[in-house]
């Protein structure tokens, strides 16, 4: 991670887009930042957390996105510039609050919501485009087209937020927020933050009022007036620009990641004198005059954006209202199938879209090389499926769950949730997980399945969640399960970290974002207080974990809880030496002749175990193995041994 508060104005640094936004927030003089982790937005808060004490600002990982934004709004109400960050899934969680804060307005100081979208769902359960929320709820939205803008837009957006008294959204996508590029640093101002909730003078009402969303229709009207004023402001924003000839054959309209891709594509096609690019940084409200003047430059217009046809829709809608005398453009984009409205944008997709509209030939590689490409045997480049790390406690937990469900014999299954353990949908978790939706949904689904006994349903249901997920959104589902007598087992995989997003602390870890000690909120105490039976086990003790799991499943009534507790291997190995020395006795390993069907390499499938086809035996890859010792308990012949390291 880069040092985002380096005091070297004018110098160039290599920053990840999120660090650039965090630096921009420091340059804007923020006093507060809150977030819940989620790729591609996590580094904003983690990089601010590192410098929070030095800069005398407050930074927290909140329990979930809804609390993050409400707490962040309070800071704005009390006179601090406030930043709240989350991924697009989080935006769904906070929409109810957004729908009222656009009516009430903010405090004296600006409130910016950064939303990171993940086109292609690289590290997500969906690839929702957040931009339509801006139009739907009347929230100003900007999007950086490169890394420098990711930083520079922050102070700009705080000024807008304060001038017009409204929350603003900075939306970015994986290929900007989570890519790295050059940043030229600015000054970080010295701000003495002073918080006080004063008598509030609302610009919508000429008298002191509470910060409130009623009378709603009046305030809704007032927000529309604000949006129109912001539209005027955006007409001259430095983040909107046109580059290209005065009369191009094709006008590209783009934003976000599409800006760099479009330039690269035009460059690759050597079409700089034929194609103009209108890059929008302020997407909503749409700067209509600027858009209209650019549309008049060309007959053909191609929309390049990620992921939904948002600009395509709003600009075509806007153009439909032009007077009959105005120029009529031919529009290309998603509706003409020149670009997809799913998956991620790439330079190749942009090149293909342009060559589909203009008659330009493009061949990336010659025929001779393509023959070589096609001659590569498929088995040489077989897909490399994701799996749990060597030594990951989750592999052991799912092994125990699998064995317990098999012993029970009623075709039980796991309802999954969001975290590394999502991989249990596949061979990594022995195909135990059978449903996968959003944060907390596995426990909600288990509530439903667990009520179906009266309709003949008799399969055991196991909801598997992570520790951070438990605090984020599982507690109400467990309350519901106990209250309504639903029959399911909740398994909490407590590895002591929000591992998937970069090991952020959570309420169970006893540390805050700023590294201060915090009360460790006991998940077993919460579950017991709700009234559930709770068992705690160490997944590396396979025998006991399996037995405990079977006992819980067989209880057949009420919501009950197993906490499988073992530190994330990636966290452990930073603090401790490897616990064992693992060995395989080639005399004892019977290979294909063993009755186990190569249980270790075909079913358990830890990457630390490899197959030696010459000897016909399993081997340990000493570079990969983390020597956790679990596989020693899998081998029926006792060929794998663990020796404790003194």
């Amino acid at each position: 991670m880069s040092n985002i508060d380096i005091d070297a104005p004018g110098s160039n640094q290599l920053f990840i887009g999120n660090e650039a936004m965090a630096r921009g927030a420091l340059e804007a003089g923020v006093g507060w930042a809150s977030a819940y982790p989620g790729t591609p937005s996590s580094e904003i808060l983690s990089s601010l957390a590192e410098v929070a004490k030095k800069r005398d600002i407050y930074v927290e990982w909140s329990v979930n996105e809804k609390v993050a934004i409400e707490a962040g709004a309070a800071a704005s109400f009390a006179g601090l510039r406030s930043l709240v960050a989350m991924k697009m899934n989080g935006l769904n969680v906070v929409i109810d609050f957004l729908s009222t804060i656009i009516l009430s307005g903010i405090g004296k100081k600006g409130l910016v919501l950064m939303v990171g979208d993940d086109p292609a769902a690289h590290s997500s359960s969906n690839e929702t485009d957040s931009r339509p929320v801006s139009k739907w709820l009347d929230i100003p939205l900007v999007e950086p087209g490169d890394f420098q803008e990711a930083k520079d837009m922050m102070p700009y957006l705080y000024d807008i937020s304060e001038e017009f008294g409204t929350i603003c959204i900075l939306r970015s996508v994986t290929r900007v927020a989570h890519a790295r590029g050059n940043i030229r640093l600015g000054e970080i101002p010295k701000v003495v933050h002073k918080a006080r909730f004063e008598q509030y003078y609302d610009p919508a009402a000429p008298m002191p009022t509470p910060i409130m969303c009623i009378p709603s229709s009046f305030r809704h009207m007032f927000q529309h007036v604000r949006i129109d004023k912001i539209r005027e402001k955006f007409e001259t924003s430095p983040y909107n620009k046109y580059v290209g000839p005065e009369k191009p054959d094709l006008l590209i309209v783009t934003a976000g990641s599409g800006w760099l891709y479009s330039q690269d594509a035009v460059n690759a096609l050597k079409a700089e004198d034929r194609i103009g690019i209108l890059k929008l940084g302020t997407l909503w409200p749409l700067p209509e005059k600027l858009v209209k003047s650019c549309l008049s430059k060309a007959d053909k217009v191609l929309f390049i954006e990620e992921t939904d046809p948002f600009l395509e829709g709003v600009i075509m809608e806007f153009a439909a209202g032009f007077s009959p005398e105005s120029k009529r453009n031919l529009f290309y984009g998603n509706h003409t199938r020149h670009l997809n409205s799913f998956g991620e944008l790439t330079p190749d997709a942009v090149i293909k879209a342009i060559t589909g509209v203009l008659d330009i030939k493009y061949q990336p590689r010659d025929a001779e090389y393509m023959k070589k490409v096609e001659s590569v045997p498929q088995q040489y480049v077989m897909d490399r499926l994701l799996t749990f790390c060597p030594g990951c406690p989750h592999r052991a937990s799912f092994w125990a769950i699998k064995d317990a469900l098999a012993m029970d014999g009623r075709h039980g299954f796991v309802t999954g949730d969001i975290g590394c353990y999502t991989m249990a949908l596949g061979p990594a978790g022995f195909f135990q997980t059978r449903t996968h939706q959003c944060m907390g949904a596995g426990a909600g689904l288990a509530n439903g399945f667990g009520q179906l006994r009266r309709f003949g349903f008799d399969q055991p249901v196991v909801s598997v969640v992570g520790d951070s997920t438990f605090y984020h959104s599982i507690i109400p589902a467990l309350v519901n399960g106990v209250h309504n007598h639903s029959d399911f087992t909740l398994v909490i995989l407590d590895n002591g970290a929000t591992a998937m997003t970069g090991f952020q602390p959570h309420p169970g870890t006893g540390l805050t974002a700023m590294g201060e000690p915090a009360q460790q909120i006991s998940m077993e105490n919460i579950c017991r207080a709700i009234g559930a039976r709770v068992e705690v086990c160490d997944p590396f003790d396979l025998k006991n974990t399996t037995r405990t799991m079977l006992d819980l499943i067989e209880q057949k009534e009420g919501a009950r809880v197993a906490i499988m507790r073992r530190t994330c291997e990636l966290v452990r190995q930073k603090k401790e030496e490897k616990p064992y020395k693992m060995k395989i006795d080639p005399e004892k390993c019977l290979g294909e002749d063993c009755g186990c069907n190569r249980l270790c390499t075909r079913v358990f499938r830890c990457p630390g175990l490899i197959w030696d086809p010459v000897a016909g035996k399993t081997k340990i890859d000493e570079v990969i193995c983390n020597e956790c010792g679990v596989c020693a308990d899998i081998c029926p012949e006792g060929a794998i041994t663990k020796e404790a390291v003194a």
Binding site: L14, H178, P364, V376, L386
Partner: protein, 204 residues
Amino acid sequence: MNKLAKDPINVVVAGVGGQGNVMVTLVLGNTLVHDGYFVTIGETYGASQRGGSVMSHLKISAEKQYSPLIPEGQADIVLGMEPVETLRVLKSYGNQNVVTVLNPRPIHPVDFTGSGAGYPDMESLLAQVAGMSAKTYVVEATGEAQKLGNPMLANMILIGALIQTGLVTISREAIEKTIRDMFPKAVKENIAALSKGRELAAGQ
């Protein structure tokens, strides 16, 4: 900062989750930015720690900020941390002029391990890589790193080999400064690994 013979220079770093792919691009990127170049890095996600294929795109320019993704067939250099992953990347991004620097130490995919196929025959795998590259440097990075006491030093050995090719203009002083900034507790080991990489590539 020198003008580049080709601008931008497109580098793909190919490997497996957990190998340190991101670290390699960061060492190169930080060094080049401090030397005045524009650098853009795009990475693969989700697979970063979890045994999947990981690929980073690194674009170096003396002129402007490029996008974080390299188009099909447009790699100038492939830095291969693992043989199968190197071949996979050449299939998508290779061309008749591409130069490949390769660590031949395999990381066995669990699917290869469990299936009958097994890991591809190394000799023919390396022949495929060489056939798709204008020039291939084979650098026994993991083996040498184990001799130095830590298999993770393989990454710095590969960076040393890449610098030795002369295809990216990185001075010894600049990269050593990056090492001191990024790995203050392991400067000596990393500089030794860097020299080892240069030495291994020099004879090829």
